[in-house]
């Protein structure tokens, strides 16, 4: 495989590979989050497992972080290269005539998602790392019960944060509406051009972000 990733097509393939990985992760994240609506106890148990299992923590987590960072950095590199490929822009350009808004603005939807991930890390990931690995509290307990569900609920108290989440997930949906089928194309598969896969992609791109939004709103509205 030497050299392939130095080519434009290799970069596309790398983007697609990381995208597939992130889409699987997203699904997994969504399933766990939805437990918080269905059954807080199960949510706590699964969260604890995910937060303390060594395989998840020491193998999967670094891979995930690498995947996220890689996807973003490569996205920016490609964007810079693409901008360099046209230094004088058109006085008049009618992109809407031949392509979707989503496909033309992946960099912007991506940047919103990046901003969201930063917020998300501040909200959850940094406190979690702090508790577990700096303070050394691996118990997952607070006042005699699992802390995960409580922490979740507290985060969604702020309407501003909920609004930010909602907006971010709208952009995630837009990102996925193009990204899902596009990833197939980059991998050299025409599957993404088939009607069934396109419908599936649309469903995935809408249902999962919408689900995250519903979960956020649910916790915001149901907090007592």
């Amino acid at each position: 495989m030497s050299g392939i990733f130095n080519s434009s097509i290799g970069r596309k393939i790398a983007m697609a590979l990381s995208a597939f990985f992130l889409m699987i992760f997203l699904l997994q994240h969504f399933v766990i989050n939805s437990l918080s609506v269905i059954n807080p106890d199960t949510f706590n148990e699964v969260s604890h497992f995910m937060g303390t299992n060594w395989l998840i923590q020491y193998i999967m987590q670094p891979v995930l972080i690498f995947g996220v960072v890689f996807h973003f950095i490569m996205g920016f590199i490609l964007e810079i290269k693409n901008r360099r490929a046209r230094q004088i822009s058109y006085a008049k350009n009618n992109g809407a005539a031949n392509s979707t808004w989503m496909s033309r603005n992946m960099i912007y939807s991506g940047m919103v998602i990046l901003a969201f991930i930063v917020l998300h890390f501040i909200d959850f990931w940094f406190p979690e790392i702090n508790t577990k690995y700096i303070q050394g509290d691996m118990s997952g307990m607070h006042n005699g019960e699992f802390r995960y569900f409580h922490e979740l609920q507290e985060k969604f108290l702020s309407p501003a944060r909920v609004a930010a989440y909602v907006i971010a997930f709208v952009f995630l949906a837009l990102h996925l509406l193009h990204g899902f089928t596009s990833a197939f194309q980059s991998m050299g598969s025409t599957a993404g051009r088939k009607k069934a896969m396109q419908n599936f992609g649309k469903a995935y791109a809408i249902i999962i972000p919408l689900g995250f939004i519903i979960i956020a709103l649910y916790h915001h509205l149901n907090h007592h």
Partner: protein, 248 residues
């Protein structure tokens, strides 16, 4: 009809260009777009100005020479046509039409609306052929049956006219539809198999060297392509490159 034209004027490749406004009157709706440009040029010559330089030749949509970005679209608002096949009935009296050259770093402007597309030539030279000498002793044409399906699909890929609309219209100035079509034509035919791995590697490497952007699968090229070259060809090229890399 009477029209206002906003046209990119640029003296030569080193000059700084700008958009200039022109008026044309009494344009028939039956004229082709280039005939309307002829009217403008005749008018400019008669008034002692320099006519607008633009590429054109066959004026029947097959040579791939004409190349105008009209009202924000490669080859203008109609579908499945080149600029020379675009007719003025697509416009209304009083319209303002913006006309620009193809814009891509790999397609520098030579003059006005004329761009240099020799980057495409160099990509073809990097591997867009089957290495067979002219001898008169090649095997009989029917000695190697090729399924109708493969032959038809190769033909569809081969109908590319090399106009560069795909690059012009792509927000990334990517040439992958053009390269994908050529790679596909040979990848679909048994004659092309022997050199398949080298071909795709070399053509893609040259494409990158020329400074074309990366494909982000917006699909704009397929929509604006006057010959309807399918995006499937890009997927096939990607596949061919993966195959070539694995076979190393």
């Amino acid at each position: 009809m009477n029209l206002t034209l906003k046209i990119w004027r640029q003296k030569d490749s080193n000059a700084k260009g700008q958009m200039v406004d022109y008026k044309v009157t009494d344009i028939s709706e039956h004229m082709s777009f280039l005939e309307m440009m002829d009217v403008l040029n005749e008018q400019l010559i008669n008034s002692g100005e320099e006519p607008v330089a633009f590429d054109h030749d066959c004026r029947e949509g097959i040579c791939g020479m004409c190349s105008m970005y009209i009202n924000g679209e490669a080859h203008g608002p109609d579908r499945g046509v080149t600029t020379c096949q675009l007719h003025m009935r697509m416009f209304k009296d009083g319209d303002t039409i913006t006309i620009e050259p193809w814009r891509a770093t790999a397609f520098p402007v030579i003059k006005d609306l004329v761009v240099d597309r020799t980057a495409f030539e160099r990509i073809q030279q990097a591997g867009g052929y089957i290495s067979v000498n002219t001898s008169g002793n090649t095997q009989d044409a029917n000695a190697l049956p090729i399924s109708k399906h493969a032959a038809d699909e190769a033909m569809d890929a081969a109908t590319c006219i090399g106009c560069g609309a795909c690059v012009a219209t792509c927000k990334n100035s990517s040439a992958m539809l053009f390269v994908g079509a050529k790679v596909s034509q040979y990848a679909l035919l048994p004659q092309g198999q022997v050199e398949a791995a080298d071909r795709v590697r070399n053509m893609v490497a040259q494409m990158d060297l020329e400074g074309f952007g990366n494909c982000t699968n917006t699909g704009a090229c397929e929509v604006e392509c006057p010959k309807g070259i399918s995006l499937d060809n890009i997927a096939r090229m990607n596949r061919e490159l993966i195959k070539a890399s694995v076979s190393d």
